[in-house]
């Protein structure tokens, strides 16, 4: 195995021209920068958690990371091999594109969509196995599926394999989809809001299962969520990092401790506010944003993209775009906010007082 990281993403941007529907209100045909100049690495068995609001680009970044979306610029490499080079210039590739795609699997937001509603589970699961491993005999395929079902606690397997998707509970569907992703023995699983549709009380159980399987199958996870408490659970249990995305950028990335105990970016703090704890004393009752809605992504705000909503914004934030300000010596963890830099002119810049659209008094 090479010393290359499992996945490395360098200066990746993804732009869409006039995406259908989602942002129609804003324009007819303009470019949305879904992902803007993001660099990341994901190591063996590492877990990286991406959080942010819908439309922040986390799903697009996730898809780009597993080769399901081609970046507009920048590179995505799997074990050192540029994924899109492998695809477009197969001759030069040390790892074939097909192999890369099967090593990078996804579990969707809507887990049910991965299962054909008109097929029994057995059929839905046998097909990809047959496609990727044509050499396996039918018995071997069945055995592989059975073993996995036992491992995810769906036992006896035949009971479940004979069912149609609508005959499964939410948790069982999740498990079946997890099995489907694991069948191909992937190196990386992208879990895109994979547990958000479950009842709160089932989420911890599902996350535990995912982590257990991570150890068993030695996979890396890219875990996407809009819920900081899920992100924190996964990240803390797996020792992974949390990256916060806002309007296409990673605005803060750090260890669980840094993000939870000492968030640098006001947006990270807003996400924390949104993750209400049962036993908080409610001391943090003030609304942490100046505006409720995310601005038009086809017309990004000047300066810091967060400034129209940021409760800490000052004049300089309206005109200067914050670079990465590293908060550790290895330069892996950073925040894109002037407040992380004690020397920054921000601290002498006049406060913005107008434009507040929400106060929760």
């Amino acid at each position: 195995m090479s010393s290359e990281p499992m996945l490395s993403i360098d200066d990746v941007s993804v732009a869409f021209t006039d995406g259908g529907g989602l942002f129609d209100i804003f324009s007819d045909s303009e470019t949305v920068r879904a992902v803007n100049d993001v660099s990341l690495t994901l190591g063996e068995q590492e877990t990286l958690t991406l959080i942010g609001e819908s439309g922040c680009g986390k799903s697009t970044l996730g898809k780009t990371a597993i080769g399901a979306q081609q970046p507009t610029s920048g590179t995505v490499r799997y074990r050192g091999q540029d994924i899109w080079k492998a695809r477009n210039d197969a001759g030069s590739a040390s790892i074939p594109f097909d192999e890369i795609r099967s090593a990078l699997q996804i579990i969707h937001q809507d887990p049910g969509s991965a299962l054909n509603p008109n097929q029994r589970l057995r059929t839905s699961l046998m097909i990809p196995l047959k496609q990727w491993y044509p050499d396996l005999s039918r018995e071997e395929r069945v055995e592989r599926i059975h073993t996995l079902f036992e491992q995810v606690g769906m036992s006896p397997p035949d009971d479940y394999l004979n069912r149609y998707p609508h005959q499964l509970s939410g948790g069982e569907t999740q498990r079946a989809v997890l099995v489907r992703a694991l069948l191909l023995n992937p190196d990386v699983i992208l879990a895109d809001e994979a547990i958000s549709a479950l009842d709160v009380s089932l989420r911890v159980e599902m996350m535990d299962l995912m982590l257990e399987l991570q150890e068993l199958f030695q996979t890396s996870y890219l875990f996407i969520s809009h819920d900081l408490s899920n992100a924190r659970y996964i990240a803390e249990k797996s020792g992974g990092r949390i990256a916060v995305m806002y309007l296409g950028e990673i605005v803060e990335i750090g260890s669980v401790d840094e993000i939870m105990e000492n968030p640098q970016h006001p947006y990270t703090k807003a996400l924390q506010w949104a993750t209400a704890n049962l036993y908080d004393d409610g001391g943090d009752a003030t609304f942490p944003l100046r505006k409720i809605d995310v601005p038009d992504p086809t017309d990004l705000p000047s300066g810091c993209h967060f400034h129209p909503r940021c409760p800490e914004a000052r004049e300089v934030c309206q005109r200067q775009h914050p670079e990465r300000i590293y908060i550790d010596d290895e330069e892996t963890n950073y925040a894109r906010c002037f407040r992380a830099d004690e020397q920054h002119e921000y601290w002498n810049s006049p406060e913005i007082t107008s434009g507040s659209s929400v106060d929760s008094s």
Binding site: G21, L22, D24, I25, E53, S54, G55, S169, G170, D199, V200, S201, L202, R203, V204, E205, D208, H226, D227, L228, S229, N230, R232, Y233, E236, K237, M260, A270, L271, Q272, W273, A274, T275, A276, N277, L278, Y279, D280, D281, G282, G283, A285, F287, L289, K291, I292, D293, V294, S357, V358, S360
Partner: protein
């Protein structure tokens, strides 16, 4: 509770569906009072019957479901209304002018092919309201949910983000000045930040428009920031009810405690988080005794044979558990502080009379 304080009185409510494999009983003998101007939260997992209970407030259980029992609505002045006995035309009026709803599903959503302005106007027209005055109110309502009124009214629903749409729906639901707003998972499909923002807004709206809110969700942390009282549904029954503080610090039903303990909490060390063991009951197979007994750690023979009635734990706090006194010790909650903060929690509703 005297009638002047109570806006809705639910008694002996049952909701049943006739299914191929037998009768499905999705709400069982629920008794519940909603106080005027309170925010009552109803919490339960999916399939607990909580949405059916909510629908019954407006007699909106869909066919072939049948609600039986009594739902009495007490208007501020005038005679009480027996909701389950209203005719279709009476219901039409009742549903907008007395009780309005924002449901998650298709029951309350915008028509995709007409502008939102048209839908506000039609609602006014259908109820014989003065259009200019009503549209003024529409503007005011949209502003109070932090939307730009003209931009929203000139949009089609698909042009709005989920959070904008949901806020516009809330504004529409308040157009005909209802006193009670029933919200069934109104924010479930949205980002947490938007969910929490909307809950903050609802709290402001309640004060501004003198509303009573019934908020149904499976999301306990969200609910506790808003609700004055919380009712817990488990397996088609009401299992516990009390003030938010009582439920957080003195939950007296093993299910409520398990639910509290299973709720992800940023302050709880990850290895102390737990799950509720066992699986949810089926609405067709009737469990004898307490419906939670198959999953309950302290269940005994009595629990498995006799059905526990609602019992008073202390004022205005009731639990349907024979051993409500033992529940706190038997089912510890890792996130709960040892002592209840003396000042109580500051919910968003702090300072309002209720």
């Amino acid at each position: 509770m005297s009638n002047t304080d109570t806006i809705v009185e639910v008694s002996n409510l049952d909701v049943t569906f006739q299914m191929d494999r037998g009768q499905s009983h999705v709400v069982r003998d629920v008794n519940l009072d909603v106080a005027r101007n309170e925010t009552l939260g109803i919490i339960g997992e999916s399939g607990s019957g909580k949405s059916m209970l909510a629908s019954s407030f407006l007699n909106a259980v869909i066919d072939p479901g049948v609600s039986t029992g009594k739902v009495m609505y007490h208007p501020e002045d005038g005679a009480p209304v027996s909701v389950l006995e209203l005719s279709d035309s009476e219901l039409d009026r009742f549903r907008w002018e007395e009780v309005a709803m924002v449901f998650q599903g298709a029951m309350s959503s915008f028509n995709p092919v007409t502008k939102i302005r048209t839908q506000f106007r039609e609602t006014l027209q259908d109820h014989g309201r003065d259009i200019p005055a009503g549209m003024d109110r529409a503007h005011e309502l949209l502003e109070s949910v932090y939307l730009d009124p003209d931009r929203i009214l000139d949009s089609y629903a698909h042009e709005l983000s989920g959070g904008m749409k949901q806020r516009a729906l809330i504004a529409l639901s308040l157009l005909l000045e209802p006193d009670l707003l029933v919200l069934d998972e109104p924010t479930a499909a949205l980002d947490l930040l938007m969910q929490r923002s909307i809950v903050t807004l609802l709290d402001e709206l309640q004060t501004e428009y003198d509303l009573t809110l019934v908020f149904i969700t499976h999301d306990l942390p969200l609910l506790t920031t808003l609700a004055d009282r919380i009712a817990v549904m488990y397996a088609f029954n009401l299992t516990e009810i009390g003030t938010t503080d009582e439920l957080l610090y003195n939950a007296s039903h093993p299910y409520t405690r398990a639910l509290l303990d299973a709720t992800p909490d940023l302050n709880v060390p990850v290895d102390e988080m737990s799950i509720i063991k066992g699986s949810k009951p089926d609405p067709v197979d009737r469990i004898s005794g307490c419906s939670y007994s198959p999953r309950c750690p302290i269940a005994d023979d009595r629990c498995r044979s006799e059905e526990p009635p609602m019992m008073t734990v202390r004022d205005a706090h009731e639990s349907a558990c024979f051993y409500y006194d033992d529940a706190p010790d038997a089912v510890p909650i890792s996130a709960a502080p040892d002592e209840r903060p003396s000042s109580g929690r500051t919910t968003a509703t702090e300072g309002r009379d209720n």
